[in-house]
């Protein structure tokens, strides 16, 4: 992209208000032809609202959108597509039971015959190196392949601007590289890309320009290639970042959590079952479990927390005690606490006060119940302690969990479990959707808990997080766990292959139970 390329999209003074929140406040920036422009910001910074207005899903309350130099009103997505704006959403809108081609046909405004469409689809795929069989049924495809359908669908319209919303959050490192190659080719053809993400490494590697939003306001428009991820993160949160401080001489104690041959049944036809998982976590150790979403992470967390029971008691041992057939309350009493991925409705009850949410999981360990009656004073005191120590922004223990922002609720939930001083803590997506400042605080709390002698299991889709946090790494794919990998020694490529390089790449890789990697000829 050259500096004097014509301006394709120019936003001026865009403002959008929702009840109780100013989602976009006087935002102005422009995207040139062939530019890959990153839109950066924390959850709730207003990125999604902004692109929804560009794609015609919402209308701005004030401000103008100029397209190729002319001020336009984009009434709906169809109008946006007519102008040449395409969008690939974070959550795909695909029908599982239909083929790739049928799904693409459904999303098109123009009517084409089956044969014309297939020819066009194949032309687009070969032009951009997108490997995909048009006749495969979507249900059999990986997430990366599903994303390619959405990209093809958008490219069929020959867009001048392609909006991509968090495209890499569900991809393996190899799939991310393949996607970037496609995006660079699009850019070279003069197509502009608006790339929404919070992954700073990727933005540095891919984008020409980055616009940073914070609290609905534009903070900076800069060249990410001359910035560091840290400098951008600090602009995103508007404060300086702290590093995780780990004791380099830390040693691990005895095995606290021992899982051997843990097998579960799938909860429904779309669920993934855990297939004879085996691993051990020692006192002081943080074990990371990496994997692409939907590969059994939730089932593994539920099986460890006691929400779903395995087949025999010996499958899970806590400090030597078989707990495989115990429910969550009994496991907590013995020292195993857990934090599931979904905050609202699973880890916390949105309509309950924080105090009541403390009763939900801490009532036994912190003696909040006497003779069947709840000691609300004890719950309130404990909740106040969590709020204070984890810097939760809340009016007090009486605030409802639903009134907190995602990051604050997560800090509260993590604090609620960590301050129970568990001997084993299992957490899923500890910092998902949490701003960088809060994420750093949560990471440090986990490291400190481990340093105090607890064993910790962190299940996450964020590889950067796992590499920074964990001592040992496992990869989950299709409900199976790989062999333990030493975080210091393992390469990203190897992790990527294990994460399910399975689909779409040249080698089919499977993780066999017990952790061996099988590569069929």
């Amino acid at each position: 992209m050259s500096i004097d390329a014509p301006v394709r999209l120019a936003l001026k003074g865009i403002t959008k208000r929702f009840p109780g929140v100013l989602a976009n406040d006087d935002v102005s920036f422009s995207v040139r032809a062939g530019e890959i422009h990153a839109l950066l910001g924390e959850n709730g910074a207003g990125k999604s609202t902004l692109v929804k207005m560009i794609y015609g899903i919402m209308q701005p309350d004030a401000g103008t959108i100029a397209w190729n130099g002319e001020i336009v009103t984009i009434a709906n997505p169809k109008a946006a597509r007519r102008l040449g704006i395409g969008m690939v959403f974070q959550h795909f809108s695909l029908f599982d039971a239909m083929t790739v081609l049928e799904n693409i046909a459904l999303g098109l405004d123009a009517k084409l015959t089956q044969r014309e469409l297939e020819a066009k689809v194949r032309a687009v795929m070969s032009q951009y190196g997108l490997v995909l069989d048009p006749h495969r049924v979507v249900a059999t495809l990986s997430v990366g392949e599903r994303q390619r359908i959405e990209i093809v669908r958008a490219l069929l319209l020959d867009p001048q601007l392609l909006i991509m919303d968090e495209p890499t959050s569900v991809l393996t490192p190899q799939e991310v590289e393949a996607l970037f190659a496609v995006l660079r080719r699009l850019s070279a053809e003069g197509r502009s890309i608006l790339y929404i993400s919070h992954k700073l490494h990727e933005i540095r590697a891919l984008c020409h320009t980055a616009t940073i939003l914070r609290g609905g306001k534009l903070v900076a428009t800069l060249d990410p290639r001359v910035e560091t991820p840290r400098s951008m993160a600090e602009k995103m949160i508007g404060a300086s970042l702290k590093d995780i401080s780990k004791d380099p001489n830390r040693r691990f104690g005895k095995e606290r959590l021992l899982v051997s041959g843990l097998t579960t049944l799938a909860e429904d036809e779309f669920g993934v079952a855990i297939d004879s998982a085996s691993f051990a976590v020692r006192a002081g150790e943080i074990l990371g479990i990496a994997g692409v979403a939907g590969n059994g992470q939730n089932a593994l967390l539920d099986a460890l927390s006691g929400e779903i029971l395995g087949t025999h008691g010996d499958a899970v041992r806590l400090d030597g005690t078989p707990i495989g057939l115990m429910g969550t309350t009994a496991r907590r009493r013995l020292g195993l606490c857990a934090v599931p991925e979904e905050r609202n409705g699973h880890a916390a009850v949105g309509d309950f006060s924080l105090s009541d949410n403390s009763v939900l999981t801490a009532r036994d360990r912190l003696k909040m119940v006497l003779a069947g009656l709840i000691n609300s004073g004890a719950a309130k005191t404990y909740t106040g302690k969590v709020i204070a120590q984890f810097a939760v922004k809340a009016l007090g223990p009486h605030s409802t969990a639903g009134s907190l922002s995602g990051g604050n609720l997560q800090k509260y939930i993590m604090g609620r479990e960590i301050l129970q001083n568990p001997s084993v803590l299992v957490v899923s997506q500890p910092t998902w959707g949490v701003d960088a400042g809060a994420a750093a605080a949560i990471h440090q709390a986990l490291v400190d808990l481990a340093a105090a002698g607890s064993a910790i299991v962190v299940i996450s889709q964020d590889l950067d997080e796992l590499l920074a946090l964990s001592d040992t790494l496992l990869v989950i794919n299709g409900g199976r766990l790989s062999k333990p990998l030493d975080v210091g020694a393992v390469s990203i490529e190897e992790i990527g292959l294990l994460m399910g390089g399975v689909h779409g790449t040249e080698d089919e890789v499977h993780i066999a139970p017990g952790g061996q990697i099988a590569v069929p000829a």
Binding site: P19, I71, T73, G345, V349, L360, I374
Partner: protein, 360 residues
């Protein structure tokens, strides 16, 4: 100026309390219109229904007698509904409770002692709970929807009642009338206010509401019920079994309906007759919702519904208002209450009409 309907950021506490009053006020206005259109004195009819039961002290005892079973059943239902367990067959549990208690009465007919009445009450609760256990079993074991089973079991219970009073339990001295023998003094509820018909059921209803309020707000049991109802997934994470909660909700609501049943049989009726089912079990559903599924709310809602009952009877006699018109009026109360509830979470907001017409 245009108005737009939007969701409130937080439920409005003001509307939470104002909505029932608003609903009652609108009911009064619409009721007056309806009765006027039908050719009656509309305002007079509404006054007879809403005010006469309150202004005429002689009617107060009727209010207490009518409200007591409604409150007892509604308190039980409010617990079940909070757990998302939709027991709409309280009428059936009410009937079976009365049958079970009457069974004790018939067995102890030739005995005397102060222990008989408490035993009847316990049997009534056990009967109601046992009858609610059937849908609990079907739901937890075979995932059969309890809305269907509780409702259908109500009709079965009516037939059981008829079989007993027309058959084996028919009083030998009733000269062919389908009814059981009249309960003895030891088997009947004592009057608690001398010179009135207010019986032991009224203090029991108040006690039930207070105890359940305490249990729901303070105990782990109440916490479990609320958690399962609001967030089943979180309840599982918190260590509360969904199936056990269904059992507890149905057993408790069934037991309280059964208690109301035997109180009614041993009180106003004094025996079992085919006319025993008077839809208290169904009306209590309205009471539970009008009371916002809160035990103390149910206490007030029970009195309000009792007012419309007693007032309806007054209007039927003094103004010759048809029975069906009174029923429509009561249905209107529930309908408008649910409609008014919408504004607890939503509101109208004035917005500027769009003026900017930009070139496309």
């Amino acid at each position: 100026m245009q108005f737009r309907l939007e969701k409130r950021a937080e439920p409005s506490r003001l509307m939470l309390y104002l909505a029932p009053i608003l609903a009652l006020a609108i009911t009064a206005v619409l009721g007056a219109l309806l009765f006027s259109v039908m050719g009656y004195d509309g305002i007079g009819a509404v006054r007879e229904i809403f005010l006469t039961p309150l202004t005429n002290p002689y009617k107060w005892q009727d209010l207490a007698v009518k409200a007591s079973p409604l409150v007892i059943i509604a308190v039980g239902l409010s617990v079940a509904y909070r757990a998302n367990v939709w027991n709409i067959g309280a009428e059936g549990q009410y009937i079976v409770g009365a049958i079970a208690g009457t069974g004790v009465a018939l067995l102890t007919y030739n005995l005397s002692g102060p222990w008989i009445l408490p035993l009847m009450l316990v049997a009534g609760m056990a009967g109601g709970a046992a009858y609610a256990a059937i849908p609990a079993f079907l739901r937890t074991r075979f995932r059969v929807n309890e809305i269907l089973t509780t409702l259908m079991l109500t009709y079965a219970s009516v037939n059981l009642l008829n079989y007993l009073v027309f058959g084996p339990w028919k009083s030998p001295t009733a000269m062919g009338q389908p009814q059981t023998v009249l309960f003895s003094l030891d088997q009947s509820l004592p009057y608690v206010v001398p010179g009135t018909i207010i019986h032991l059921g009224t203090p029991i209803a108040i006690a039930v509401a207070l105890i359940v309020w305490l249990v729901m707000s303070r105990s782990v049991f109440g916490f479990q019920i609320r958690t399962v109802g609001l967030a089943p997934h979180a309840a599982r994470y918190g260590g509360f079994s969904a199936d056990r909660t269904v059992w507890m909700a149905l057993l408790l609501s069934g037991a309280l309906a059964g208690l109301a049943g035997i109180l009614e049989a041993a009180g106003p009726f004094g025996r079992l007759v085919p006319q025993f089912p008077t839809n208290y079990g169904f009306t209590a559903i309205i009471v539970a919702f009008l009371g916002r599924l809160h035990p103390i709310g149910c206490l007030f809602a029970g009195i309000i519904l009792a007012i419309t009952f007693v007032g309806g009877e007054v209007a039927q006699t003094t103004m010759r208002l048809p029975f069906a018109a009174v029923g429509v009026f009561q249905a209107m109360v529930l309908f408008l209450l649910l409609a008014a509830d919408f504004f607890v979470r939503h509101r109208f907001r004035a917005v500027e009409p769009k003026t900017s017409a930009r070139p496309a």
